[in-house]
């Protein structure tokens, strides 16, 4: 069976929005990645002082939302809303029947900051002081619901929760919704905002976080021999996806296409990656098949590459397993952005589309001493000028979730 025989229709990407540690919008993300800028900083507030890992990549929400609007939204909903507004405006604020408009925004953690804050209110002041907005602020589908209300989506509002694969899984679900004819436009992406001592302490107890406190901007270093864990990030990435026919009919500008998705699960361990990489490889193979492209057609890879010792190598094995002799250039946006958990897959799909449209693949930041067990063509030191047609973006999450996306020009 050839790959093309199982290929299904691509969908058009007509709007992009991103609020990331590299800046306020998609332009800042693009520029930051090409410059190899770091969004990582040391958390120096007193509440972080005793933590064994005190690094994070945060976003600036100052003046982005109306005060009254913001006070009913958890930070994860706020970042989702800001990115969705950018994406929607970028798509030309399409006039669409709400019955044909859906939203899929994933989140790994949900409204954790509100949960933690209101737990303190409950202890200090009792149950009558707890906010009546607590539940809609903490529920994981809060970001999707917020965006759905904003744009009047009535064809369904969904929230895939698959840890660090949530954002990518949201795009995979959006692709299904459009292909199956259940919507004409889907606003899809991921959001995360859980920079707080408790999640940091939890990740630190897993020994998952970098502790390179003396050099925050060098802490996220995928594929480098000195990598010692990921850096917790926050932010959101949102894409406006629509059927090719719908985009053409309204004369929309098209950034590129989401051409295929592949989902698999490891069934190996709840948090550790399968060292053989077979689950991840199956998701990659499935995505390529879904898009109808062969391994040798992939022009670059936006790897999941979180900068953990085990994860980066397991993924490298998975890529080689799935791609065989093909060796497309690999980049790792998390070297600049940190790890945006449930937002990462969406932000990195945007990064992949930007590389496709510009023909420029950002270099992996902080890659001073390549781990030679990562047997890949990794883009180092300088931006790779490389016009190409097909990109692969991978995302993997605690729970053994493997999601791969194929994007095309």
């Amino acid at each position: 069976m050839t790959a093309a025989s199982t290929a299904r229709q691509p969908v058009a990407v007509t709007g992009l929005g991103a609020l990331t540690p590299l800046g306020r919008d998609v332009a800042a993300l693009h520029e930051g990645l090409l410059e190899g800028r770091s969004g990582v900083r040391l958390l120096d507030a007193p509440e972080f002082a005793e933590l064994p890992a005190r690094l994070a990549a945060t976003v600036d929400l100052t003046d982005r939302l109306d005060r009254v609007e913001a006070r009913k939204l958890d930070r994860v909903q706020q970042v989702a809303l800001v990115a969705a507004r950018e994406a929607w405006a970028d798509a030309g604020s399409p006039e669409v029947d709400g019955d044909r408009l859906a939203v899929v925004i994933g989140s790994g953690i949900g409204g954790a900051l509100t949960l933690l804050d209101q737990d303190r209110v409950l202890r200090d002041k009792g149950p009558r002081a707890v906010s009546p907005h607590l539940i809609p602020m903490l529920m994981p589908n809060g970001p999707a619901a917020t965006v759905g209300l904003e744009i009047g989506a009535r064809a369904g509002v969904h929230c895939p929760v698959s840890a660090c694969a949530s954002g990518a899984e949201a795009l995979a679900l959006a692709l299904d919704l459009l292909r199956s004819g259940r919507a004409d436009i889907v606003v899809a992406g991921g959001a995360e905002a859980c920079v707080h001592p408790l999640p940091l302490a939890g990740f630190a107890q897993m020994r998952a976080l970098s502790t390179r406190h003396d050099e925050p901007e060098a802490a996220s270093r995928p594929y480098d021999k000195g990598r010692d864990g990921f850096v917790l990030g926050e932010g959101a990435g949102v894409l406006v996806l629509e059927t090719v026919a719908h985009a053409a009919a309204r004369g929309a500008r098209v950034h590129g296409h989401l051409a295929g998705a592949g989902l698999a699960s490891d069934a190996h361990h709840v948090t550790a990656p399968d060292p053989t990489g077979t689950g991840a490889a199956r998701s990659i193979t499935a995505a390529l098949r879904d898009a109808g492209v062969g391994p040798d057609e992939v022009g670059h890879i936006d790897a999941h590459a979180t900068s953990t010792p085990l994860g980066d190598l397991a993924e490298a094995r998975a890529l080689n397993l799935a791609l065989g002799t093909a060796r497309p250039p690999v980049t790792a946006p998390k070297s600049c952005t940190g790890h945006l958990l449930g937002a990462a897959g969406a932000v990195e799909a945007i990064a992949a589309l930007l590389s496709l449209s510009s023909g420029r693949i950002p270099a992996v930041r902080n890659l001073d001493d390549l781990d030679d067990q990562a047997d890949l063509d990794i883009v180092r030191t300088v931006v790779r000028e490389h016009p190409h047609e097909v990109a692969l973006s991978t995302s993997f999450g605690f729970g053994g979730h493997d999601v791969s996306l194929v994007l095309t020009r």
């Binding site: 109306d66 009254v68 006070r71 009913k72 002081a129 906010s131 009546p132 809609p136």
Partner: protein
């Protein structure tokens, strides 16, 4: 604590509504309906109640809430309850 007069409760309630819902002070008049005129939904109304309870040291039970349709209803209830 001396009982607040209705005029000061009205001013204080306007402050609460500005803080919680961004309602402009000039809209907070006795005749204004919370839901009908000020667009205060039921969840936000709970926030308003809690803020009023803290501000004036009164208790506004859910049973009383149903009777508080307008700003004037709330002002009279709070001024009466705080006595």
């Amino acid at each position: 604590m001396t009982a607040p007069d209705p005029a000061s409760v009205l001013t204080g309630l306007a402050d609460v509504l500005q803080e919680v819902a961004g309602t402009p002070a000039d809209k907070v008049v006795r005749e204004a309906g919370f839901e009908a005129d000020l667009d205060i939904d039921s969840l936000t109304m709970v926030e308003v109640v809690v803020a009023c309870e803290e501000k004036w040291g009164v208790r506004i039970p859910d049973a009383a809430l149903e009777g508080l349709r307008t700003v004037g209803d709330a002002v009279d209830y709070i001024a009466g309850a705080a006595k």
